[in-house]
Amino acid sequence: MQRAIERRGIPTVSVTVALDVTEHVKPPRAVFVPFMMGHHFGVPFHHDLQRRIILTALDRLTMAERSGDIHALPVTWAQARREGVVIERAMGIRK
Amino acid sequence: MSLHYLKDALAQGDTEALIRYVRLHLGDGNEAQGRKEIDKAWIEALKPLLDVPPTDRAFIHKTLTSKDPATLAHLFFDLHFYLVKQSGEWIHDGNL
């Protein structure tokens, strides 16, 4: 998919939680986050994290120097979830 | 299983490979769960019939006699998931 778009001259970047799958598929550029499947952009209501993942991915469009580039974000799922809990408490939707 | 693998299994009469695939598909990637899900669907199919309410047999007859085999087979898969949902227990959340 990503390759098909890239071959048409449009630079692409994907966000992945499955680094091993990405290593097999070898997309042009990828950003890896060690998160739960289905949670590529983090945890609910954590806008900063969601934005950071998008912006990091978009940075790779200019930063990545060779095809197959995989950039790991220095984040952990445990930390993301902890921050998510704090945010939800502040929003009053979690005790 | 890739489609290619499944077609090979069919050509070779490898029914074990075929049913294993069905169980995996219905079990969210877990073969043992898939067996349970098949049983669960049949129990859910039995339940609403025990009080013998009127059902639309004309619709069933028309459907079975007018639709092509592939559509009916597809419906069978749909009915399985419909019945499993009726059970209130949903394992298809990608966590297996």
């Binding site: 390759r3 630079p11 097999h24 060690p34 | 890739s2 290619h4």
Partner: protein, 166 residues
């Protein structure tokens, strides 16, 4: 720094191997890479497309076929101006706990709009694209669905594309 699966904390290790053991031949493995296309303008001036395998679709459209044993090779257009309340997910086989509370965890449509409004992204394509990741025919996926979406991304005037595979 280049990441590899052996030295990073993939939350659920061995996905490729596990899936390929369960469904032999369903996983794609490429020996090579494709040449990089060049971004012609900075991201802040480029039109971005978003492509997702999360099975997100506008409410009221024909649900993705999540029951077919061979998968669904169609895609849906999701207007980039759509609100999460107007969208729903039809996809099995990946955890949607977070997405059910905040769609942006897998389909960050609101964040992408904010970043565009703030000028960090030049523009968004009128439509985003969505399909389901469950399919047993990788050749067909590559030869039809991938090509169709790529053509649609071009037709939308995209100058860059962000993808997320659920």
């Amino acid at each position: 720094m280049m990441a590899t699966s052996s030295d990073t904390g993939q939350l659920r290790p061995g996905i490729w191997t596990t899936v390929n053991e369960r469904y032999p031949g369903s996983m794609i493995s490429k020996p090579d890479t494709v040449p990089l296309a060049t971004l012609r303008k900075p991201v802040a001036q480029s039109r971005l497309a978003f492509v997702s395998t999360a099975g997100v679709q506008p409410k009221g459209t024909l649900p993705f076929d999540v029951v077919h044993p061979v998968g669904d090779y169609s895609f849906r257009r999701v207007p980039s101006i759509a609100e999460p309340a107007d969208l729903e997910i039809h996809q099995l086989k990946y955890p949607t706990a977070g997405a059910n509370r905040d769609l942006n965890v897998i389909f960050p449509i609101e964040r992408l709009r904010e970043l565009t409004d703030e000028g960090m992204i030049g523009a968004l394509t009128p439509d985003f694209f969505s399909f389901i990741g469950y399919n047993m025919d990788p050749e067909r996926l590559e030869q039809t669905l991938a090509e169709e979406i790529a053509e649609a991304v071009v037709a939308e005037g995209a100058e860059a594309a962000l993808l997320a595979a659920a």
